[in-house]
Symmetry: C2
Subunit: 386 residues, 2 copies
């Protein structure tokens, strides 16, 4: 009952809530597990930094302090280049207006920043830019693994070769890049293994078409956390980009990419009130702290806006954030549960496991680091924006 | 077809995308409209700054540069106190751990920062803090207008008087505060007017109980954008807190609190690709730029992740952001539409009307200001965090 009022040995009392806690032990274990998997499969890891957006986390995840890594914005590219990373892919289709900024990053930090595209018109703009600026931009052609969003169809030889041929005229074709995003909708291990195999086969098909046309394709890059977790064979693939695996979240636990006990991120919250007749505990972690992500609503277990744990990170049975306003979280039992609502006074601290680490992280500007179950006193900054 | 490649007179070419555009003309009109409404109803406006989180916007919305205004975090309170605002309510139930920070804001800037609570245990902590620190904290008792989240039931005289009595012992009871959050689920004008009347009646009931017990209750504060828009009588109310009305969004348009043509906020995006066989346009504004908010999914018209406009802000028929990944927006027609997908090359610019101004704004650190349909060159900073 005195939780939050008497100083605890976990070091959390001094933190203002809501805030992000990152369990560095789990982070390291998640990275070690993925690295061991990919070592067995004979491919390298190019971690995607879009989830963590932190140089400290990147250094845990990368093979070396200089990379390689993947980014989702040019702001990330600038931040990580400034932090010493020299090998990056900006894995979102390039707009011509962004090429000057790409060139500036390459020039200023000497970072080998590669870009991605999937059309002849983009290839034309990139090639013209490369010639005009005397900087041979390295390019990966995005290939559509599964109809999820962008990319050339893997068997569309005409378009692949047209793009590759155009790039040869001043830019540099480095390879193909795929993202099996539809794997996020799966949960059956056999289906996930098939999705990984489909991604691999699409990648190899496109790479083979380019090579048979006499074009270079040294890099064959695939990646999503579910397919990285379930792939059994990556022959012909050279690298895997995955990001959320480092941290994990309830959505990935619902897919089967991690266990709930692997999730390294929680939001620390404080109890600010009750509606006892309804079994509600009101906290200061609303959707602004948790994000608006409700991805688990479409999964077998709907976790509301997050699963509620005590300050040691142990989840309470059936206790979720049932609803959220901007700065209010409404904590209660999931529908149909007969578990007990814990008796927590105003001022008590809770920790919320997030639905989606990328979205929840983005609501915050730092991670407060835990190790051995205690706050180390360190805060790792994280960036946002473009 | 050359949109995005030849400089346009709207001044948008120089902006990096994705970014936020704020139409200052619409902002001013929205504020003038609400102010005129509340003037007619004889109550003052205490704008909620949680949507805009910008001092420049606050100065348009407030009656004077020193306030009054409402905030949802102590970070906002610090920012706005630093910017000269001297009359604030922090409208989220107080946790005892936050009182030192409240006191520091009051001391450092001389801002009359009031707090909110709904329990005797909080009142006890606040009163003890006030006595210990020689600072008589002004307090509003939160009253539950409609079962939405926090607050004492309006007729719970025992609890209201117990809280008020406890506060008299060192703190200062300033009044009652309500938020008719359930009004967000309504769309019928008559039901919205009834919700506003219910909110008013609950406020007056609680204030009367306090006054009849010999306790002070000078402030009777209500507020939500829908009830502020539909109230016909605010007798007994002294002030209205509303925030999203300044900017508007598709969700509020779905409720009927504003028209789509009143929405002052758009996200500027750039076309980065196509899946022409599916009628998809891929942009660089994914959920990171738009937010994960899908509030319109529960309304009559589901706007996806936002309604798509041309760079002049004219909406295309039936064109929405159908799906979003972190940094990819998938633009296409709403289901069942037979409208034409506009032919927009890579590099073309679009503007997306947001589902929820509070959530979309929070993904960004500044507003690029439009007036007379052109970018003025000004950027108004906005804050996030706690």
């Amino acid at each position: 009952m005195t939780d939050g009022h008497i100083a605890q040995a976990d070091g959390l009392d001094g933190l203002e809530t809501p805030c992000l806690l990152l369990d560095a032990d789990r982070l390291q274990a998640n990275v070690a597990g993925m690295r061991a998997r990919l070592d067995r499969l004979g491919v390298s890891l190019r971690p995607h930094l879009k989830t963590a957006k932190s140089l400290d986390v990147a250094r845990v995840a990368m093979a070396s302090p200089s990379g390689p890594a993947t980014v989702s914005t040019l702001r990330e590219a600038e931040h990580f280049a400034e932090g010493g990373i020299r090998d990056l892919i900006y894995a979102v289709g390039i707009a011509p207006q962004k090429l000057d900024r790409v060139g500036a990053i390459r020039r200023r930090w000497g970072t080998d920043l590669a870009i991605v595209l999937d059309s002849v018109e983009q290839a034309e703009a990139v090639t013209a830019w490369s010639r005009r600026n005397g900087d041979t931009l390295p390019v990966l052609i995005e290939v559509d693994a599964d109809g999820h969003r962008s990319g050339v169809k893997p068997k569309d030889a005409e378009r692949l070769v047209a793009i590759g041929g155009m790039l040869a005229d001043g830019a540099c074709l480095r390879g193909v890049l795929l993202h099996a995003g539809d794997s996020y909708g799966l949960t059956d291990p056999a289906a996930l293994t098939r999705a990984a195999e489909d991604e691999r086969r699409a990648a190899v098909t496109a790479a083979t078409i380019l090579r048979e046309a006499g074009l270079p394709c040294p890099v064959v890059s695939v990646g999503s956390t579910p397919t990285a977790r379930y792939a059994e064979n990556l022959d012909g693939v050279t690298e895997v980009r995955a990001g959320v695996f480092m941290i994990g979240d309830l959505f990935q636990a619902g897919v089967g990419s991690c266990g709930i006990g692997d999730i390294a991120l929680t939001v620390l919250a404080t109890v600010i009130g009750h509606q006892r007749d309804k079994g509600w505990i009101i906290t200061d972690a609303g959707w602004m702290a948790l994000s608006r992500d409700r991805g688990t609503a479409r999964q077998r277990v709907d976790q509301g806006y997050g699963l509620v744990c005590d300050r040691a990170g142990r989840s309470y049975p059936d206790l979720i954030v049932r609803d959220a306003n901007q700065e209010h979280g409404i904590v209660g039992l999931r529908a149909g549960s007969s578990a007990a609502v814990p008796d927590l006074p105003v001022g008590a601290r809770l920790r919320i496991l997030p639905n989606h680490a990328c979205a929840t992280g983005a609501q915050h500007d730092r991670y407060h680091v835990l190790s051995g179950g205690r706050h180390t006193g360190e805060a790792w900054p994280r960036i946002n924006g473009w």
